[in-house]
């Protein structure tokens, strides 16, 4: 396998230009939503609103102002699929449509997906959505086609401030650590990395530098794999089956008043009223 490739998104230098969103849409030929009708959110410069099957990059606009709006700050973050090393979507996909590529990225094969939507429920980040044109679940591929051609993904190529860095994950982690140290030195002690180490789902190949709690950026503070409930859920279900089975045996068993259980019974007469003799059988 080639070396793991990924994104490091430094939110402190994102200017909210949405060039990444546009480049992603153009390169991947993602259709417009609502048939191209211009729908505005009405309460933000963010009209994309979320990641889904039509939006594989999403620039979040977080306003943090006081009530008088005399002091505050913008938090801007270009969100994307995290290409988790241990990916929830890949775990649950029943068709094998979701694969891990030679770049350690996670890709949905549109020609295999049948639209069961289990991956949407399995993703801890709410990244995946349905593409109404293809009828399949879709998300960022980390521009797999561009990677195989030796090019960098469209979003990072288009980013004018280098908020989105593309490269080998190992290199990106070193670079990100230096950037956090620099910010700490220069008076921004809140800076930290989200998903850069192995503790979060084995590591996120697309990780972020944040300056507030993850929830503020609509990121889960403690994302988990869906399979965490598989063992215990199965054991409890088996216990339920055992209880039901025992109750059935207790309820239906003979108690010395039933006669020969191997004897065929005329089943066209009402149960409980049977008075057949051995060998007797009435066909309707």
């Amino acid at each position: 396998m080639a070396e793991a490739m990924g994104f490091f998104t430094d939110t402190t230098i994102c200017i909210g230009c949405k060039a990444c969103e546009v480049a992603c849409k153009e390169w991947n030929q993602l259709p417009a939503s609502n048939g191209g009708a211009n729908t505005l959110s009405g309460d933000s410069y963010d009209n994309t609103r979320q990641l889904d099957g039509l939006h594989w990059r999403h620039v979040q606009f977080v306003e943090q102002f006081n009530e008088e709006r005399t002091a505050g700050r913008w938090l801007l973050m270009s969100d994307v699929c995290k290409h988790c090393v241990r990916a929830g979507c890949l775990e649950v996909c029943p068709t094998g449509a979701i694969i891990r590529t030679e770049f350690d990225t996670v890709v949905i094969q549109s020609d295999v997906c049948n639209g069961c939507r289990d991956c949407i429920a399995g993703c801890p980040f709410g990244v995946i959505g349905m593409n109404p044109v293809s009828g399949t679940a879709q998300k960022c591929t980390l521009c797999y086609d561009r990677l195989t051609a030796g090019m960098e993904p469209a979003c990072s190529k288009a980013c004018p401030t280098d908020s989105i860095h593309f490269g080998k994950v190992a290199d990106l982690r070193e670079f990100a650590a230096r950037r956090v140290a620099q910010l700490h030195r220069e008076g921004e002690p809140r800076a930290y990395l989200y998903g850069a180490d192995d503790r979060m789902l084995g590591g996120l190949n697309a990780f972020f530098l944040l300056v507030d709690r993850p929830e503020v950026y609509r990121l889960p503070p403690d994302p988990k794999l869906p399979s965490r409930n598989l063992g215990t859920g199965s054991v409890w279900a088996m216990l339920g089956a055992a209880i039901v089975g025992l109750l059935g045996i207790f309820s239906f068993r003979e108690r010395g008043n039933g006669g020969d259980s191997t004897r065929p019974v005329d089943e066209t007469t009402p149960p409980g009223d049977v008075t057949t003799t051995p060998g007797e059988r009435v066909e309707r």
């Binding site: 980040f125 503020v216 149960p271 409980g272 066909e283």
Partner: protein, 306 residues
């Protein structure tokens, strides 16, 4: 400031709606009817075998309907076979750690055994080739193997749907490991209720009804305990059900679906013996359906993902 929100609230809903609710209910009836039928065949009195036959007659059409519901719910229904065969290699597609993958195979296998038992039940009822199909039902060796494997798969089909919901990252579903347990117990109570209704409709008064009612009462008591345990395991997430869903759970599932039928089983004279059994059975079926409505739909509306 954003308050502390559980991580499951940052996910998106898969838009599993009424078709899936119906599948969970009918699939539960398919599995439940079969394993009750097998339990009667294995452990019951010969006089009660007609109820087992009813169970087999219900299970196969129900599992066929379940498959249809699942296929129709796919956004690309013609690719339903991708659940079983890798479309790009032609190899079997089975992921043991994906409940949906395992469930697809289980549904197919259960359908096969349900079909064999359905044929046997038809034979017992005097339709089709008759006596020759009788070997597909216990107590013969072939019938015993068919019913045992079918019952095991019936339990699986009845319960894996709950595990499937738990193996996601959605609020409520993945916040408890007890959905599979609750679904299996509920499938037993609803299937027994359905067999009671069909038995009453077929034979008006039948001696074996009391045994099914006793079974249903015991299962309903266990269901109440399992539901309480489910709520307890949700912890602080339970606040989600301080809503119309909580009302439906309390009134539709607990009061109408569990406590009222239990009361009717206990004191049938309240409504008169002729009415008590069918009314209790209808209430149990209603409660089982509402349980699935509440669990599936209450989670569907939540999410701030991406």
């Amino acid at each position: 400031m954003t308050p502390n929100v559980p991580s499951t609230f940052f996910t998106d809903p898969p838009h599993w709606q009424w078709l899936i609710v119906l599948y969970f209910f009918i699939g539960g009836l398919a599995g439940g009817s079969y394993f009750i039928a097998a339990l009667i065949d294995f452990f019951g009195r010969p006089q009660d075998r007609p109820f087992a036959r009813l169970g087999y007659l219900v299970a196969f059409p129900a599992v066929v309907l379940s498959g249809i519901l699942l296929i129709v719910d796919l956004t690309l229904p013609l690719r339903f076979w991708h659940m079983l065969i890798e479309s790009n290699t032609g190899q079997p597609m089975l992921k043991l750690y994906s409940p949906m993958s395992l469930g697809s195979w289980a549904l197919l296998a259960f359908g096969f055994f349900a079909f064999l038992s359905f044929l046997a039940a038809l034979g017992d009822a005097g339709w089709g080739p008759g006596r020759r199909l009788h070997v597909l039902r216990p107590p013969g060796i072939v019938g015993t193997i068919v019913a045992a494997l079918g019952a095991a798969l019936g339990f699986f089909v009845a319960g894996y749907t709950g595990v499937l919901l738990a193996v996601t990252n959605r609020p409520i579903w993945s916040d408890t490991a007890l959905l599979g347990l609750n679904f299996i117990i509920s499938s037993a109570s609803t299937s027994a209720a359905l067999l009671i209704l069909l038995g009453l409709w077929r034979w008006r008064s039948a001696g074996g009804i009391e045994r099914l009612e006793r079974f249903d009462s015991l299962v309903l008591i266990v269901e109440l305990v399992a539901l309480a345990a489910l709520v307890a395991t949700l912890g602080s997430i339970f606040w989600v059900w301080f809503s119309v869903w909580g009302v439906l759970l309390l009134v539709g599932v607990v009061l109408l679906g569990i406590l009222a039928p239990l009361a009717l089983h206990w004191r049938p004279r309240t409504l008169g013996r002729a009415l008590a059994a069918p009314v209790a059975a209808v209430l149990v079926l209603f409660g089982g359906f509402m349980l699935r409505v509440v669990i599936v739909m209450s989670s569907s509306g939540m999410g701030t993902g991406g």
